[in-house]
């Protein structure tokens, strides 16, 4: 009898634990669930604002992009997710290939978001842009020394370049964009010569690359624009110092344009609240929300009616790659494999 009791207690313990997490769904009248990779407070404020305006509450599930995609795949038609928000077009391309997204027809989205920042099949829509730029120290490099990403493979840059790991999705998408534009052999040459010029084997995050340039470990780094913004307005005065000392250069202005990636949103295949979900997508592409994105996180708004943050404007206009970002997903795996093969750690 007692044995049974003890065994019973154990199962009870486990089932209570399970029960605790079962009833977490929002029972409000109208609500949508969004799987988001972005953990910014400004995003939450936008969702709150949206609820106030429309009465639709937004339940956010946060995790890394890969985790969310894996989860969405496992859940299949049981998923509660209506929307998927990820900071990389390549990853959304993967979600699309895995048949996790569905097409959205919305005149508002088409009007607000330029064509190259939307998926060809309308399964995802870019919301904010970031450019992957060259950051340099003006004491050691003059602007005229810089021209293209490819030029960083030249022998003069030996031991002078830092960039983070090839496992990072921004790098993967950057190389994918090149594969979309050029022949594979051309890109392979570039990657191989760039790796040869690394001042150290890749480590740390984007900010760490800027700091390495500041420290004199290297003269140039490749990183995303908004990290310069974040450092310029950091609570750490020493990061501000780094941001003020370094300069931003937009490469490939005369050739293919600077690589641009987006944070983008897609409607999931098994979304239960399609109309409200599309309402939120349209809201996020609208001028008010785009202004919030631009100012809180130093990203470029996709909506051309909205101004970028003054810091970003101060760097001037630039020519972006004229490439449908759908291609980032198409070439993602090829890029990952190519970087491994050329020894980019």
């Amino acid at each position: 009898m007692k044995k049974l009791l003890l065994l019973g207690l154990m199962t009870l313990g486990i089932s209570v634990l399970s029960a605790c997490t079962l009833g977490t769904g929002n029972d409000g009248d109208r609500s949508i669930t969004i799987y988001s990779e972005r953990h910014y407070e400004s995003d939450q404020n936008l969702f709150d604002q949206f609820e106030e305006e429309t009465g639709v509450s937004v339940n956010v599930v946060k995790a890394s992009a890969d985790e969310l995609i894996t989860r969405l795949e496992q859940e299949g038609s049981d998923t509660e997710a209506d929307l998927l928000l990820i900071a990389d077009a390549g990853r959304l391309g993967r979600a699309k290939d895995m048949n996790l997204l569905q097409a959205v027809e919305s005149a508002l989205l088409e009007e607000r978001i330029p064509e190259i920042y939307r998926d060809i099949d309308d399964t995802w829509f870019g919301l904010t842009k970031r450019a992957r730029v060259i950051v340099y120290h003006p004491d050691r490099v003059s602007e005229s020394d810089l021209s293209t990403y490819e030029a960083l493979g030249d022998p003069v840059w030996e031991n002078r370049v830092v960039i983070r790991s090839s496992t990072n999705i921004y790098n993967q998408s950057m190389i994918a964009s090149m594969l979309a534009i050029h022949e594979e052999a051309y890109v392979r040459d570039f990657v191989s010569s760039l790796v040869g010029n690394f001042a150290r084997s890749p480590e740390g995050n984007d900010r760490d690359q800027a700091k390495a340039v500041m420290a004199g470990l290297a003269d140039v780094a490749i990183l995303n624009t908004y990290y310069m913004g974040k450092m310029a307005y950091s609570s750490d005065p020493f990061e501000v110092e780094v941001a003020e000392a370094l300069r931003v250069f937009f490469p490939n202005q005369e050739t293919t344009g600077t690589h641009v990636n987006v944070s983008a949103i897609g409607l999931t295949k098994h979304a239960k609240n399609v109309d409200d979900a599309i309402l939120l997508m349209e809201y996020l592409a609208g001028e008010e929300a785009q202004g919030v994105f631009a100012n809180a996180n130093y990203e470029y708004p996709v909506n051309e009616n909205v101004e970028a943050h003054e810091l970003l404007s101060s760097w001037g206009d630039f020519v972006a790659q004229d490439l449908s970002l759908t291609q980032l997903g198409v070439y993602a795996n090829e890029a990952a494999i190519l970087m491994d093969e050329e020894g980019w750690e």
Binding site: M10, G13, I14, L17, S18, E67, R94, E203, A336
Partner: protein
């Protein structure tokens, strides 16, 4: 008849656990049967050699450093008397409260261009930068945060070694180096090796440090294959290779230890020698260095940045996260202890070879790195949920992934992983008590569970509390399992810290990190001081 004799609550619980572990493992073999995918061929060609090489060197350096920190510390506090000896006796365990990944974020930041160390160096005119984000730096961080395992096992073995051997050796004018070579090291070797093994297994389990430093070892590789290359099959194959690697290490340990435990019962109270002034300087340095870098500096750093960032990070969510962390850790730890108690009891009295082997197999859990276990457990639960759909429908639940999306999956993984730790602690306490009381109770006609509750548990109390604390701290710190297996939107302190760090908000991670460390510190303080009080009595 024989069968009935073997079937009782202890063996039934053990068999259930055994079957579960076995089924989970079968996933691994199933993964090997399929055709090799492109991703796997790619990994084998370009990456596998590096993974093996890096894992080897990371393990080697970490083992060496942690052995030195832990052994020297334990030796000093056991054999010598000096001011603050008692303080060091428990403070040396404190770095265990600092998860390795948090130490990595801290030192990564301190040594970065804007970090305090580089700034100070520049202040005195040294411009070169120390690169902590390397394989060597990572092994130092692991050693500094994990050496307490060595410290604890070695100290408890030294405490058991008879004083007379050392006194006789000294009377016979045996040189100090010879005492070390011929007595101290050989006698302590089993404990040293066992402690280092724990450190090594924890190192291989880590995902946070190696991810941040970009040190490509197995756990890194498994997540990379699974997520970046999107290939679960390749991840499973890598897990297989990693397990071979781990088992080689476990076998080396068994050979080095040859299952020997040397100790003689302590005779007289140990007379601790005073340290000469020169030796005192060395002694304080040997104790102070790991304590300083493994605990004090990280805590100062975390406190400082918690003060700077609390307005951003102190909110209701942090309260939920704290409650989440504590509640799941308590529940998982209790269930783990409970099962370990049953398995340990089966282990004590069974003569069956089958059961002995079964127990060996069950307690392999700790050797399986979190990344591997995460892959296997999630596959297992998804399969189970698909099978259970009719049952769910019976209860009117119109979902498939019921268990997979609940805390059951995470708790299950915790139990599998930490059962070994709980079992080892309980078993060693049982060894000290011996079987006679329990046997007497059986002879007097008390049932097994009644005896367990009213005879064993009161005697095991200290051992159980110790086991609880060790397992609890480990669960609270656990990252890779929690990250992958947690239900949606369920954050623990560990995942919260990881999230801030991966958003490049290292300073904002300070407050949850500090909370996490505090939980460990409180637990360590409680057990070490409980014991001290008893000894005084």
């Amino acid at each position: 008849m024989r069968l009935r004799q073997h079937l009782h609550s202890f063996s039934i619980v053990s068999i259930i656990v055994f079957v579960l572990v076995l089924v989970v493992f079968l996933q691994l073999f199933a993964g090997f049967t399929g055709e090799a995918s492109d991703a796997w061929i790619h990994i084998k060609e370009y990456l596998l050699f590096d993974y093996i090489k890096n894992s080897f060197f990371l393990v080697l350096f970490t083992a060496l450093f942690s052995a030195v920190f832990g052994f020297v510390g334990a030796y000093l506090v056991t054999f010598y008397e000096f001011p603050f000896r008692k303080f060091f006796g428990w403070a040396m365990i404190l770095p265990l409260a600092v998860p390795s990944y948090i130490a990595a974020y801290i030192y990564g930041d301190m040594f970065s261009y804007t970090g305090i160390v580089s700034r100070l160096l520049r202040g005195i005119g040294i411009v070169s930068q120390i690169d902590v984000m390397s394989l060597f730096g990572a092994s130092m961080i692991f050693a500094l945060t994990l050496y307490p395992y060595v410290f604890m096992t070695v100290r408890s073995s030294l405490n058991k070694q008879s004083n007379e051997i050392y006194e006789s050796a000294r009377l016979l004018k045996v040189s100090k180096s010879k005492i070390w070579r011929k007595i101290l090291l050989p006698l302590s070797r089993p404990a040293l090796v066992a402690g280092v093994l724990l450190v090594v297994l924890e190192t291989l389990n880590d995902y946070g440090v190696v991810k941040y430093f970009n040190v490509r070892v197995f756990s890194f590789a498994i997540f990379d294959a699974w997520f970046r290359l999107g290939d679960v099959g390749a991840a499973i194959r890598l897990s297989g290779v990693m397990l071979i690697f781990v088992f080689v290490i476990v076998v080396i340990e068994r050979v080095l230890r040859r299952n020997k435990v040397y100790y003689t019962l302590q005779g007289r109270k140990r007379l601790r020698k005073a340290l000469s002034t020169k030796a005192k300087v060395f002694g304080y340095m040997a104790l102070g260095f790991p304590l300083m870098f493994g605990f004090i500096i990280p805590v100062i750093y975390l406190s400082y940045y918690s003060l700077l960032t609390y307005s951003k990070t102190l909110d209701m969510e942090l309260l939920y996260v704290t409650v989440n962390t504590l509640s799941i850790s308590v529940v998982a730890t209790l269930i783990t202890l409970f099962i370990a108690l049953f398995v340990a009891n089966l282990d004590r009295f069974t003569t069956s070879k089958f059961f002995k082997r079964m127990i060996n197999f069950i307690t392999l859990g700790y050797a399986i790195p979190g990344a591997v276990l995460a892959v296997l457990v999630s596959l297992f639960f998804i399969g189970m949920d698909r099978d259970l759909v009719p049952l769910y429908q019976l209860f009117g639940v119109d979902k498939t992934l019921v268990l997979t999306r609940s805390l059951a999956m995470l708790s299950f993984a915790y139990i599998l992983r930490f059962l070994t730790l709980a079992f080892n602690n309980i078993e060693s306490t049982y060894q000290k008590i011996g079987p006679s009381y329990t046997e007497a109770s059986y002879t007097l006609g008390q049932g097994k569970l009644k005896t367990l509750w009213s005879v064993d548990v009161p005697m095991l109390k200290d051992g159980l509390i110790f086991a609880f604390v060790i397992v609890f701290i480990d669960v609270v710190k656990e990252l890779p399992l929690t990250l992958i297996l947690r239900p949606t939107n369920y954050d623990t302190m560990a995942t919260k810290v990881y999230q801030y760090a991966s958003d490049e908000m290292i300073h904002e991670a300070s407050l949850p990190s500090l909370l996490l460390v505090s939980v460990g510190v409180i637990m360590i303080y409680l057990i070490t001081h409980r014991k001290l009080k008893k000894r005084v009595k």
